[in-house]
Amino acid sequence: MTKNKYSLFSLIKHAFSYHENWEKAWKDPEPKKEYEVIIIGGGGHGLATAYYLAKKHDIKNIAVVEKGWIGGGNTGRNTTIIRSNYLWDASAGLYDHALKIWEGLSQELNYNVMFSQRGVMNLAHNLQDVRDLKRRTHANRLNGIDAIYLNTEQVKKFCPIINTSPDIRYPVLGGTLQRRAGTARHDAVAWGYARCADKMGVDIIQNCEVKGIKRNGDSVEGIETTKGFIKTKKIGVVAAGHSSVIANMAGLKLPLESKPLQALVSEPVKPIIDTVVMSNAVHAYVSQSDKGELVIGAGTDDYVSYSQKGSHDIVEGTLNAILELYPIFSRMKMLRQWGGIVDICPDASPIISKTSIKGLYFNCGWGTGGFKATPGSGDLFAHTIANDEPHKLNAAFNINRFVSGDLVDEHGAAAVAH
């Protein structure tokens, strides 16, 4: 990898040829007849899985098949918030594992993922919020995750544009702050993992839709795709909103519902908010991108849909809340709005698991909060595929928890409303 390392030197060298001779970051191969492992889904999680399979588990014959282009699904549609302040021990372990990898990811990938630890603040708007947030702060600290509780004055001091007046509809009574949390550049995450995986021999096959999964009794034999049949003994499915569609091909049913989740960005303005503020109760998330756009996360619709758009009233509700909390934004114009399809588990926790079919693994159910987990998810899923058993950090996130009842119930506990 050192040969084509991105550096100041390579930047200067390529300046002499007007930056026209940069090599492609990844190849565009045709699928081979057979792979040791095939990852379905070329988003951040899928590419990270392939990268860690090659890097840590010495499996080189890997393909990532992607229906569209890499990073074009939820990886390119989220609001890029990264945090690990989850209530339950299992979740705290999972998300903080990811956060620790984020902290060194740009160096590891030799690709600037623009990870910015600008802090994430969660607001409390009623007495129950205050109690829940204090409880979560204590739980986080017991798990070694940085968390502090802020009163209204401290919230105002940390983010002065918030309206902390006591006479708004949902007054700010306090909040929590995780300083290690922040944001990253979503495209760069997919591209960085793709480039490194490609260098280690992973075939990234775009525009290749999976049409069927071939089974031989209780094990998998390969996948039917728009580019023909590809043989394999191990399939890792990381298809986000389309996980159920792939599961149906293998004759499997998952406890998932796929719903639209919307986000929107404003016109770019000068720096006005240097952190991420999330409000569970009124459902308003806002941060500012490096380009200056406000990045606003809305909620999910309550119906199943694969249409990658959502209902207008969801956006309206979010903007109502944003305007009450940040009156300064009242004349901002919104530039773009879009939807992604998120697969939500009944307990709002992900599944990183083997299945009843030998050689078929699922990494799904990330719902509204998968981006933050990208590196950890890839690492743990690679471990699960390579060893045919989960890592201790994802053992609780097995698919059998819906049979045993041992759920990881982050609904309402994870500092966001799902």
């Binding site: 159920s244 049913k253 998952l254 519902e257 309550d302 119906y303 819906f402 045993s404």
Partner: protein, 91 residues
């Protein structure tokens, strides 16, 4: 956003309604005799279809009655609406 033709009130905006998930999941007649697998199937496992899906909706901000909807989840086009207890349309 789309328009739903409530069988009791007529055409209204979708924001007046609440989605109730997959339809025709029958509550087990003998709950005490179910295995854990059967409970999981009943409680949690969903078809989550991309395409024609049969589902329940309730007109929360209207007549507050439940009914069934046949909808294409890939483009949100509603194919049919029918009352609770009625047989689902075959075409």
């Amino acid at each position: 956003m789309f328009i739903i033709n409530c069988p009791y009130c007529g055409k209204r905006e979708q924001s007046e309604f609440k989605a109730g998930g997959e339809a025709h999941i029958v509550r087990p007649k003998q709950p005490t005799e179910l295995s854990d697998d059967q409970w999981a199937e009943y409680l949690f496992m969903r078809k989550n279809i991309k395409g024609i899906q049969f589902e329940r909706w309730v007109h929360t901000h209207g007549c507050r009655k439940w009914f069934n909807v046949v909808r294409d989840t890939s483009n949100d086009v509603i194919k049919a609406v029918y009352k609770m207890g009625e047989k689902p349309p075959t075409k």
